[in-house]
């Protein structure tokens, strides 16, 4: 009975649902994150193809730019944990498909693979040891992003193979690789910057509210 209770508490803690207050923030992160994801993911930001990697028969564009949807997933996962990261990726992508393309690819498995990224990034509690003000935490977040990105790619490829009958190498080479450079920049350059800036804004907001409420 005690073991069962410990497991339950650990699970709730892992999912950032341990207390009513924490659950409230996690739920807010999921709702707001999903809404923001849905509306920013189709936004085309300026992108520029710096050069193309010539593979003889086709070209892989190396493109500078920002894919805001991925940044939102990382941001929510970093602050509100794995459940929030998972659901923002899944609900956000699914919502975006339904709203803007009226077509759910591979029965929502693409969204689930995006959710996998958020789930992995959200595993550590980065708030300990000065939060993201400590470069080690930012580095840890990037390391988990790398792991999440790998698993996301695998899940994405497998799900498209199994559910949508796509070929593994065709999907990897001609669907995913062209997408690679812009996601790498978004995940490993822009996402950490956004996370740190968000962290500073949260800290400043807390200071402000503390000062205002005289605590």
């Amino acid at each position: 009975m005690v073991e069962h209770s410990n497991f339950r508490n650990s699970l709730l803690s892992f999912l950032r649902l341990e207390s009513a207050n924490e659950a409230k923030w996690t739920l807010s992160g999921i709702i707001l994150g999903s809404i923001i994801y849905i509306f920013v993911s189709p936004v085309t930001l300026p992108s520029y193809t710096f050069f193309g990697l010539d593979l003889g028969i086709t070209v892989i564009p190396i493109t500078g730019g920002l894919y805001l949807g991925l940044v939102v997933i990382i941001l929510v996962a970093s602050f509100y944990g794995p459940l929030a990261g998972l659901l923002v990726g899944f609900i956000g992508h699914l919502g975006s498909e339904i709203l803007f393309t009226q077509q759910i690819v591979a029965m929502g498995m693409v969204g689930l693979s995006f959710g996998m990224l958020g789930f992995i990034v959200g595993i550590p509690r980065y708030a300990k040891n000065e939060g993201f003000a400590n470069g080690k935490n930012l580095g840890k977040m990037m390391l988990f992003t790398l792991i999440g990105y790998f698993l996301m790619t695998m899940l994405y490829l497998v799900s498209l193979m199994v559910v949508a009958n796509q070929s593994f190498d065709g999907t990897l080479l001609y669907n995913f690789v062209p997408y690679f450079s812009i996601t790498i920049l978004s995940l490993f350059l822009f996402a950490p910057v956004f996370v740190r800036v968000y962290d500073i804004l949260i800290a400043e907001a807390k200071k402000y509210w503390k000062a205002k409420s005289g605590i």
Partner: protein, 545 residues
């Protein structure tokens, strides 16, 4: 910089490094992206006593489409009709050359149809040049003699470049000529068109085959000289996609001339659905009616003849071949000539079996779903036709995804008044891909479709209504809208000129006034049945009554 901020950045080394790198890449992205001139907003013009004209409701051309047309005019040297020039195919890839010329023309017809009351040599010359190149000695040598189709072993089938077993050339050539007639209503090529239509009709309505066998289907309808209701490409094989071209042409011819040739195509359409569709509901890529002898087939594993061409990687298992390019090409043209039920069924199957989705807003399709790992020129050609097929089917989501994938590596750029996609990132494949990329985007963004072209205009549209018949210069001239609204008896014109330009309208007597958003435009003159509009550099939207 205050000490605390400096300390913050010094202490946050990882963040600061990422921030600086992010700013550099963002800055480069913004700086390197050129600010391009764009298509204007056409807006609303209010004409006193005549009402309100919302110009956005009329067909228009994107500025980039006109820029691509200007690039094509330059590529094909449209003012040079010399023998040397029309026989110079070196400007095009040395494979599938005839298809580049033909499909460029089909895209052009849709562009012209987007501004139907603009009919000058600016448009016509490019059609005429391509038609001449298609019928040149160089093309005959390339397309028929070099591959060995003139071989005497094909004599009983027919080994003549201009028919009856060369639908891959005769179909395209005739449709190019017929579309010229359709959009300009000039009878320059009508005798030739009629000759080919009759030749196809003879082939399709025969009840005895080339080798003297009975050729009727189970409804008693003729299945033609090749007992398939189709006409061969190369003398020994029939393709659904190649036959979609003459079928489109025959249907269009009937509409233009009130004739009844189209009944000859029905048995073939039923036949291929029964005998040339695989287990996935996809048309198979070729059906041999006789044995091939040319070097093209020396390594090919053949199945039973007559019978389907086999998938190269699964030939030993007797699996019929499929080809994305052929499927999507046929779907587009079947939709175009009104066989929408067939087009929709095969489109649904094609989408399920071919399309590969990307995690972002992109999609691509392999040449064959039996061998999706391979990637050759045929995969690129397949994606071109997928792109055009999705557009013809009105599937704007897939069209956008395919465009994002297909055009992703090639930024579009302006060179003066010419627009083109920069293919410099490509290596050996560059000369092959370049002409495809240039014409396909223009086709994809014209304000007309193959189906729209089938909705033929009345003769009086061409003989009675006002149209632009001449311009003092085409340099820097962008005619975005040229449309005569028959109901309101008003000419809608949106135009950008970059130097002083006079535009001449024919069949436009008794013009009452030229109206802009800001009021009345005065710089025009009536000259009998002609009206001449003089414009200084600028962008204008007019309603002319």
């Amino acid at each position: 910089m205050s000490a605390s901020i400096r300390n913050f950045f010094v202490r946050s080394k990882l963040f600061t490094s990422l921030l600086i790198l992010g700013i550099i890449i963002s800055g480069l992205t913004i700086v390197l992206n050129p600010t391009n001139p764009s298509t204007p907003n056409f807006g609303i013009i209010i004409v006193p006593d005549e009402g309100t004209f919302d110009l956005s409701e009329y067909p228009y051309l994107d500025r980039r489409v006109i820029g691509l047309w200007n690039s094509l005019r330059e590529l094909y040297s449209v003012d040079d009709f010399s023998n040397n020039s029309i026989n110079d195919l070196s400007i095009l890839p040395d494979v599938l050359t005839q298809y580049f010329i033909a499909f460029t023309t089909y895209g052009m017809a849709q562009i012209v149809d987007s501004t139907p009351n603009y009919r000058t040599d600016y448009y016509k010359n490019l059609f005429q040049k391509l038609i001449l190149m298609m019928n040149s000695s160089a093309m005959e040598e390339f397309e028929w003699i070099l591959p060995g189709f003139a071989d005497e072993r094909y004599e009983s089938l027919g080994n003549d470049f201009r028919g009856p077993t060369n639908i891959m050339w005769t179909g395209h050539y005739t449709l190019m000529e017929l579309l010229y007639y359709n959009v300009f209503r000039e009878s320059t090529y009508n005798d030739e068109i009629k000759w080919f239509i009759d030749d196809w009709n003879n082939s399709l309505t025969a009840t005895t085959t080339w080798d003297n066998k009975s050729s009727i289907d189970n409804q008693g309808r003729p299945l033609g000289l090749w007992r398939t209701g189709l006409i061969p490409c190369e003398p020994y094989i029939v393709f659904v996609q190649c036959n979609s071209i003459p079928f489109y042409a025959i249907t269009l011819y009937d509409k233009l001339h009130n004739s009844n040739y189209a009944q000859s195509i029905e048995p073939g359409i039923d036949w291929w659905q029964e005998y040339m569709t695989d287990d996935n509901g996809i048309q198979i890529d070729g059906y041999y009616i006789s044995e091939p002898y040319t070097a093209l087939h020396q390594f090919e594993v053949l199945g039973e003849i007559p019978g389907p061409a086999l998938e190269p990687v699964l030939a030993s298992e007797g699996v019929p071949g499929v080809a994305n390019y052929g499927s999507s090409w046929a779907i587009a043209f079947y939709q175009g000539f009104g066989k929408t039920d067939i087009a929709e069924t095969y489109y649904r199957n094609w989408k399920t079996n071919f399309i590969h989705y990307s995690p972002n807003d992109q999609a691509y399709a392999p040449h064959s779903y039996h061998n999706p790992s391979s990637f050759t020129e045929m995969d690129l050609i397949g994606n071109l036709f997928s792109y055009l097929g999705a557009r013809e089917m009105g599937d704007s989501n897939l069209f956008r995804k395919l465009e994002n994938w297909f055009y992703g590596p090639y930024p579009g750029e302006w060179d003066g008044y010419r627009y083109r996609f920069d293919t410099s990132a490509l290596g050996e494949i560059g000369p092959f891909m370049d002409p495809i990329l240039q014409f396909a985007w223009a086709w994809g963004h014209a304000d007309s479709t193959l189906s729209d072209l089938m909705d033929v205009k009345s003769d009086s549209f061409y003989t009675s209504f006002p149209y632009i018949s001449a311009e003092s210069t085409t340099e820097g001239l962008f005619i975005y809208q040229a449309y005569y609204d028959e109901t309101k008896e008003a000419f809608i014109l949106s135009v950008e000129v970059n130097e002083q330009t006079a535009i001449t309208f024919d069949q436009f007597p008794d013009v009452q006034g030229v109206y802009l958003k800001s009021g009345v435009y005065e710089d025009w003159a009536q000259n009998g049945g002609q009206m001449i509009l003089t414009l200084s550099p600028g962008t204008y939207s007019f309603v002319i009554l």
